[in-house]
Point group: C3
Chain length 350, copies 3
């Protein structure tokens, strides 16, 4: 489906963010992930787990069920599954055949996030989780916190496309975090087999409105803005602001932030969207929770409105492709390649 | 469609509950039944009738139209149909061809219910209506009343499945009417060509929470719980509570109730659901109207949530079938057989 | 789709009302027209324009974007299109290839309305716009004003069918503007290649309820009621009331009104519906804005309810066709012919 080839929706073999770690606790958390209902919770020993969210007996939502110790007892007929997915109790039977069970998903907590592997568990290689150093998570002196979880009524790739093309900052976010220079500045790009890195180095540029309005920064600045797309669904951003060359204290670091957007398909046309941030200045991070709300709301507005348009149109005309779409195109291709490989494997297995 | 074979939805040749008798009066009552709009009303002489709810001229809802005597005058262009479905008046014409008309459905009031036959009227044999004695309606000294009509956003068979497997009582209704013994006790079953009877005889068992909380019953009880599924959409339940063997006054009847669930397909994925009850104790019946509300709400919650899951999933995996599903499987097969027979007949007729 | 042949939805080569002129101003107005998003606005020089409402880059709604002079700057990535649809600015590029652009629709203001041509612009012949004299717009001494714009949740042909069969006046609008004579009186009809004219001359007839209740008219009247359907989506109505023959002052004009209904497909199953009116008596026109609200609400109710019924039914049975449907049938055929011609042309071009 758009913007992928017909029948292609999302790669299954990859680490997606299922939740912020701090969302997972004693209570059962229901979430659709790659068009499957999933339940997340933390065992008595503190380990986070993810299991299928649908009882295989009559499809009742296990997330609306009951914890019994580390197990989930289906709220409908009481069939019970342990944290590994194994069925341990059927109220109407004395014995439980060993084949009874639900899927248990590989789930790894790293950084602020609980990473899930929706595909073939045998392929769930933890070294494929984005490297915490590479994403700027463990920078010394930086304070990181999760900001928002949003359930977005639009397909996930619209959010990936958004993040793969930061020329939108000066327009969609013209009143806050962007300036026209975000689009006008040439992009530098680095592509590996795990991520695509995009950077813009803006020299002697006016600060974005939010920096001016809040009195953080005056006069011309040098600004680095960039985003790394770690396949299949994680974007790590960088925003560094320094006194511009030629000014007194030229090169002094004025503001620094790392932002993380995680984009996880929920259903075919809805998305789990996670945003978090870090900065050396704890107050500025806490402050950002408020002033970034309308910024994220703009991205979500774009996603929802575009989803409505492409859903209503009979046929979606071919897109106008700009030079600035290079990164988004590479990002789409990376996902398409993963999906093609999975399909080839499925077909070979048949 | 799930859980039936592709193309199978609901048997048409059978008596379904269209309404409680007390819902039908002078005013036109609109209701979808087996994916057809139907209008129910009571003629001047008191007879309840059911006719097609769609004007054949321009599909205007006849239920949103006007009674003129015993006839319905379409609210759009005034075309008028008598209670037998015959067109009696076209405002723009002097004469009305005899072929003009709408469907009139066989409708029979019996017990608390008005029974409709959505299929071939020539096959509408009243003796196929569930026997009032068999369903425990006319037990001497029992007071019966209709409780609730609910329009449920889920396909009807989910409610049939619910009622065909009372092992859910101790889990979905764990806080009210069930205990784990409802699942753990072996089921006794009787199958005829008109119904499936299921019974559980629980001996020396603790009373369900609602009985304890309300102080009705103390100490161990003997309890009979059961449900008869009269094809295609009526469930008659029994609940008798006696002092347990070995106790003083052993065998004395403490509580007795009969409950009736009628499940009538509305559209493909929505259901008309009727619940009523009887007991020798009139106050306890009236009292139950309140305390059973959350119980029914649990069944409806399960139905609605399961409908969402099966509608969202691309492919529904095969279900885990338990020993306790025997009754539900027989119930599904009975309906499938009816649908297969109707299809064979349609094909033979072509 | 119903009531047209499969695959037929709406003629594209025709003038439809996109908006009342007074709806179009400096601000961008978003409207779906024939299943395409469209933006309407007025240029600095006062000219009203209509352009595609979807940015060809990433499908962002241009109606939710920003005016920059006479151009629209996409609210997402800042791509800018002038009022003629030509792309004039891409923030990330120095040059803009001449092929970049969006559709600009022929748009003509005439009377109260802005007329759009959604089809092949080369065929947009302004002489095909309904003639202002023929529709009674420029009657000397008549005061005309737009009344309502409604977005109706039903397919457009249901509203055309409504207006092509005024026998509904005495039933759907029995409490206000119609009497049974609207249906019982024979219809006179004139058909040209541009419109179908329908008239009913009611002699010595009681006034409709609204005229009686408001004390406008007493005793028997002669009444002319009619509607002209200008293909593909405009209905011009006439309502003249005179003292009936045989009464004192026989033939004196008591009330006179012209009404205009414009019916423009929005999406496949929703409609843009515009109503306006004129009369020699300015106060009576202003007064009508209030008392006609429930009348239009009845037409919309019929449309929405019928849409629900035909959408829910698996198969739509054939319609009962009455003698009074002659005009509606001719109207449907006129549109079907237009669609057939367009299809033949598309096929020939391939």
């Amino acid at each position: 489906m758009y913007p992928f080839t017909p029948g292609s929706y999302a790669p299954a073999n990859g680490w997606y963010v299922a939740a912020f770690c701090n969302e997972i606790g004693e209570e059962l958390l229901s979430r659709w992930i790659l068009n499957q209902p999933v339940v997340l919770y933390r065992k008595g020993d503190g380990t986070a787990v993810a299991v299928e969210g649908r009882c295989p007996h009559r499809h009742y939502p296990l997330g609306a069920s009951k914890r019994v110790g580390d197990a989930i007892q289906c709220g409908y007929h009481g069939i019970t599954f342990d944290a590994g997915g194994k069925c341990t109790f059927v109220p109407s039977q004395q014995t439980v055949p060993g084949v009874y069970g639900i899927r248990a998903y590989p789930l790894v907590e790293r950084g602020l996030w609980a990473w899930i592997w929706p595909g073939d568990p045998d392929k769930a290689d933890e070294s494929l989780i984005p490297d915490m150093t590479e994403i700027g998570y463990d920078l010394p002196g930086y304070y990181a916190r999760p900001f928002y979880y949003h359930h977005v009524e639009g397909r996930y790739q619209l959010l990936n496309d958004n993040l793969l093309d930061l020329t939108h900052l000066g327009y969609l976010h013209a009143s806050s975090i962007g300036t026209p220079d975000d689009a006008a500045t040439p992009e530098e790009r680095e592509v590996t087999d795990r991520y695509i890195r995009s950077r813009r180095y803006m020299r002697n540029t006016p600060p974005p409105p939010v920096m001016q309005e809040r009195g953080w920064v005056e006069g011309p600045i040098d600004r680095i803005s960039g985003m790394d797309f770690h396949f299949p669904g994680f974007h790590a951003g960088i925003g560094d602001v320094r006194v511009a060359e030629g000014q007194p204290r030229a090169g002094a670091l004025l503001r620094s932030s790392r932002v993380w957007h995680a984009v996880t398909p929920a259903t075919k046309t809805t998305t789990n969207y996670f945003f978090g941030m870090a900065s050396p200045d704890r107050d500025s991070v806490d402050d950002a929770v408020e002033y970034l709300k309308p910024v994220l709301a703009e991205d979500i507005f774009a996603t929802v409105e575009i989803e409505k348009i492409i859903t209503t149109l009979d046929e979606l005309p071919s897109e106008l492709m700009l030079k600035s779409d290079g990164t988004a195109v590479l990002g789409r291709r990376a996902l398409q390649r993963m999906m093609d490989a999975e399909r080839a494997e499925r077909e070979a297995a048949q």
